[in-house]
Symmetry: D3
Subunit: 313 residues, 6 copies
């Protein structure tokens, strides 16, 4: 039996559906995709990144046999799968947001061909990616007395997960792929708490310990052999607006970190400042000026006072 309350509820549902499908309320929260093209899929991008890690670190993930005769078949298939999945997602990215990325607006067929060419260039980069990540693993292992071995670092460490996603995403930025690099870096951000903008430039032997809360901005330039701890921010301090009040894009606004620098937990370094080669930045500091090479920067001494009440501070 349908009660009067049920009728009232059904009427609410019906009115709300009408309001929500009224196109005049769509405003800036509605997206019209280029017809005939897939939407980007975070699920497929997750599988893609896993497959790349499987290729880079043979024997750690998935079921790749190591026997050379058989291994070549697996590598051949994985490379083809990476190529196909990546082509599809690049196409999806192009059809999502060419205008926003100032990319030439082509039809779906041209975008399709363009995507395949870019994907093949990414595939060609995989051996170099393995070499780079091999250096990062070495840096993480040597920099952490708690690591029992390189295997543990590769299998467990969030830093390796975040850095491998960054290096994948950064290469895609260099190949001028829109949107997909950001999706890859945000997936790693969600999983590890490490937020590396894929446009940042980072040298070899890079590592991050623990990593939760670390942020590396889009115009950062980081040298070789740099180590960050959790909660480090390499951010921007302010940015000029254009005549329409919109922030001007692309202006260098994040720090330059030279080679051999260590930055401890929760340090915040803002603006286009340079942290000189070999410097050490202590935890919890707020730095908005250049730091000379081989400097050591720490917080002023804390106040220690006698303790009184039970619950607070």
């Amino acid at each position: 039996m349908v009660t009067s309350n049920d009728k009232k509820i059904n009427s609410i549902l019906s009115q709300t559906a009408s309001q929500l499908s009224d196109a005049s309320t769509f405003g800036n929260v509605c997206h019209e995709h280029q017809a005939g093209a897939p939407m980007p899929s975070t699920k497929k991008i997750g599988i893609l990144v896993s497959k790349i890690r499987e290729v880079i670190f043979p024997g750690y993930f998935g079921n790749t046999p190591l026997d050379p005769l058989v291994n070549q078949y697996y590598m051949g298939v994985y490379v083809d799968e990476i190529f196909e999945m990546l082509s599809e997602q690049i196409l999806a990215g192009l059809c999502f947001g060419c205008a926003d990325w100032k990319i030439e607006d082509r039809d779906v067929d041209s975008n399709h061909q363009f995507s395949r060419n870019i994907a093949s260039q990414f595939v060609e980069y995989l051996p170099e990616l393995r070499r780079l990540l091999s250096c990062d693993v070495e840096a993480a292992f040597l920099g952490d007395p708690a690591a029992h071995g390189r295997g543990e670092v590769i299998f467990c460490y969030p830093a390796i997960r975040a850095i491998s996603s960054y290096r994948i995403a950064h290469k895609l930025v260099e190949l001028q792929v829109p949107l997909i690099p950001r999706i890859i870096s945000e997936m790693a951000h969600s999983e590890t708490g490490i937020d590396i903008n894929p446009e940042a430039q980072i040298g070899e032997y890079f590592t991050i310990d623990h990593g939760t809360g670390t942020v590396i901005g889009a115009t950062c330039i980081i040298g070789k052999n740099v180590k960050l701890y959790q909660g480090v921010t390499l951010g921007a301090v302010s940015f000029p607006l254009d005549n329409d009040g919109n922030p001007i894009k692309g202006i260098p606004r994040h720090p330059i970190i030279e080679d051999d620098v260590i930055i401890y937990a929760q340090a915040t370094i803002l603006g286009r400042v340079t942290i000189g080669k070999g410097s050490v930045i202590g935890g919890n500091v707020w730095v908005t000026n250049d730091v000379a090479p081989n400097s050591k920067v720490v917080q002023l001494k804390v106040r220690s006072v006698s303790y009184k009440d039970g619950g607070g501070i």
Copy 2:
């Protein structure tokens, strides 16, 4: 063949099972649900939140077609599904913890009817929710020079994910739904590292950049056009205990942030203090006092010392 070692292991298993099913050890770690009602399901709540996002941002998530004639059917179905799923979870929440939330303890049938009424009120709120989140998207886009477009913000930014979950959960708090709002906010917390208590009050055009580690306490009041960075804490500093030694609930103990405030990374603001309109709080500071409107608060200068040994600080 069963070895003596196998026998010993089986005996350990059996004894442990006995101990674990001994009700005298259940203490405060055992939950007896109101019979005839479902338990809350994080999996279903996750689907519910995704469905709401699909309705709010048409074309971005899921498969909603945008043609008006067809779109209305999808909106009708989504709204009905949201209503049904939400009714079920509200009921589950009521049966989980009426006592803890000081809610009248009804039988399952009354709770069922009550849940449906509340769920319909939530559904009625969806168009306003779209308007509010549209403002938040605008704030995120304008506040971040790294954003290529509003589409990227909606599709990728953890802030939008956290704030949409907050606004959903907060509405449910206003409708006096127990437990479920907290589950929703903890799911967003796990995914984004942003921890917004659903009881907090937050104005329009709110945004959080990067966001990992940001905490907003239950009695916070935040004005319009406020921007936070990662690692910002708006927390409590101490709290009075009642005669039984339990913390007294509901006392205002978190900051008030007035309109147009920016708070940089890792700043910690504790207690019922007011940060005046238009102020800027620098990173890594520890604030336990009121800040006048249009102030700028930054950390004292760091010590910069010459650098010596290789590994430390």
Copy 3:
């Protein structure tokens, strides 16, 4: 029709596959598992941890009926399933990295028997684990005025998730299980942003509020009734290298936190320092020295300056 562009792409794929399956490029990024043994499975470890939580907190997770007659059957099955899953993963861990963990290298059959014995010892520990976690729940509930009840704490709080994973992983460390404890703690780290090294020693009635970004290092010793907030680091400041330039393992290098200490958000405490009983450490401080019992340590006063330009600081 195969175009010349297709041919070029296929040729790139083929060359890349060759390079990637060239064993000379495997270097330190390739893992050869002990034949005849499974690889550790993060998916199965996730199920294992969920099952343990189901046993510890009856009625909260899964479908355990509470009727004593029936409950004993469920406990019996869960205990057997935990035993079998854990045996398998311990075996996987042994075959992954005996050398790295300085564990005697046995054949698969011996490792199999060894794994079963260790797994049975873990199972025997489950009742004590319930008691310990019951204390942690109590601490979390009493320490948070925003908690509506113990049920909410158990069902939603990331701290309970992280601490229960820590206590499971730490017991496995005590039983000398390699790799698996770290996998368990990194899974909790990813989910909660709380990074507790499973080798750390932590007393009863421990809690962490909010928790994102909190780090507890491997050689930490934490007393009873300690409370941490989000972003707290208990870390190392430097570490000696051996003659090969590798960090020396196992040296005490993280803080000792005595009973009844509270440490506020974003505080960074580094090195083998002792924070005396009953002390309170304020937020955002950087501590590298001992703190006497019953001390209160806070940041120096911030600078408050008049505010000028619109976008920055």
Copy 4:
């Protein structure tokens, strides 16, 4: 761009949706379920039947360990799971079709209690069910020279699958459960091609070889030690109509097969005839009369003619 063809298609979709949701076209193809009760679920019933087979044949299906100490826990849990799943499905059946089955129409709560009582009676029957199916396995093994062992019979033979489903369903018929028995027998029918009406009565040591196309009608009575082959029909030949032209239900209209009878492939036996004890019915015959005990019935001789044209007969 929306073309005029797209508009035409959208208009067709919209008109069709209207027609299909016009309740005047629902007629006899629409079902209104008793509110507050679940619909029967073929998926859940499939799991239920698998679980029962797991209990009946320990060690063949699922993961039941055979060690007595541990086995009892698994049996306890399985029995409880069977009880809960079956209660739910019985309830669903009651709410689906009480009127059709001439069952008293109760409210959902009464049906709920009634379902639990019936489910417990079914559970009580499980040991007897094991004994009966053990006899059927013996009959199948001894009756088939192609069988390598009893294990192969239990693990592979469709007859055992069909007969176990029949014996489960028949017990539920005896307990006056509507609909669910038919769902169980149709699932076995789909899987094996053997269609045994759950209302039929079948004695011990029953077997069917190959089985595809075998049909056993609702009012059949089959003695002990009977063997059927594929394509055997034990059917009805005609049935009287009531004054409304509907077939009169419940009249005995299918054969009685006495003990020790064998019926070969594709034989069709129709009507309330009796096939006497120890008889053998040859393949492809059409029998509509009683057959005396110890008879042998075969088809009249075939015509053998000389062969002419290439493609036909």
Copy 5:
């Protein structure tokens, strides 16, 4: 350690892979799909057929609410989903086998548009499909004394499943869709054992009892109110070959069954013969000639002989 046996096995694998990828062995077992188009998906076609049944029989399958206000939204979405899924599969069918079906070979874009037009025509047919199946349900219910109600017939009976798949597939044949109709009918064949060629023509009020093994050939014409039993074959007896020795397609070669005919189990009727209106064909007969209206055809009497030896016949 790699043994010589391992090496031999790897060498076998490698040689076999070479042979299997040698295109000269592909012959007639290799399929090259039209580029840029999906392959037909039996999984998606299964979902499509389920969705159509959900629309035809509201309240029986899936979760369609029956309230008129809400029901229209569901019907709108289902109709759109059916349209999209069907368009995709029709396109897949066109790209699979235009040549084989003598269909004009267009490019993918033209096929895409063509598919959408056909799919919309199918959607338009859904209300008539509901009417037809409603008649079939009535026939099945009235023709079976074992049926407790129409609900049981719709929910459980394989005949309804097979006939609804047939009527869907037949409409697609009329709309000249290649391949997909056959996939639909073979899925029903696998599930029910009933094999109805989608090209057959079948009138209203059609039913099949039990049905396993029933076969209805491509050029059959069946009138109104016809009932078949299990194992009935309406087949071809021979067929002329063309000059290349291939069977000539499309020649009428299966029976015509006029209105009001009943055909009992295992009867085999072959060739372009006509079974006259109102006739009854008994079980297990072999008919290759016309049967006059209102005839009754039965097998010659069986031989009944005295029974001797224990095991055989």
Copy 6:
């Protein structure tokens, strides 16, 4: 609140669990697997058979690209996967039932090596399997005027599914693998209604039209170019018992069908009879004697009688 009825139910559950775990009731329905070995998995065997079909029919199933450069990688991986899956299942079969199959009882390690050797021999057979199935496809296409093309036959026809499963299973029989061949053939039986014992011997260019209910016994010998229709039984008529009353295994007891024979629907041919080359057996006949070459065998003429009453025969 626990009612007295609840208590009674719990008591029934508990008593039943006790009875079911009483090993004295296990009898012939309990299986004790060889420790350390997997149980056969119908799910994995299903995947294995699908993978083999993917290799045999490139481009029809799965995602194998046909470009030769890339195709070789896929074939390499598929062959390796088939090898690994098959090894595991052969091992499972050996550990399930060596005694029943009169196979030497080895330890698990020896069985493991043995399984790998057999699996590699099966892999070596794949190219020949492709050739054989290519002939069967040709026979099915040429023998069915309703077939639109070879692609339709491969993609849809149950006969190809059943025959390919038979040819796989038969090769495993030749390689003396226990149990697994029967599982493969019963899976095809369930799906298609065609029951071919894997021990039967069947020549080239074999086809079955429609197929539901067709049975081919274990000692059948079938020549080249034979065609069967649905419901054909090639069975045994009786079999001698040994001194213990068990049927004697392995005696030839099923028909020999020589080259170029056609057998129509529902024909039943029993015993070690020979159907001579080029003969045609009509439908619905019962044959227990030899048939000379080039014979045509049909049923005696049916009785045609005048029709009287409305419902029956």
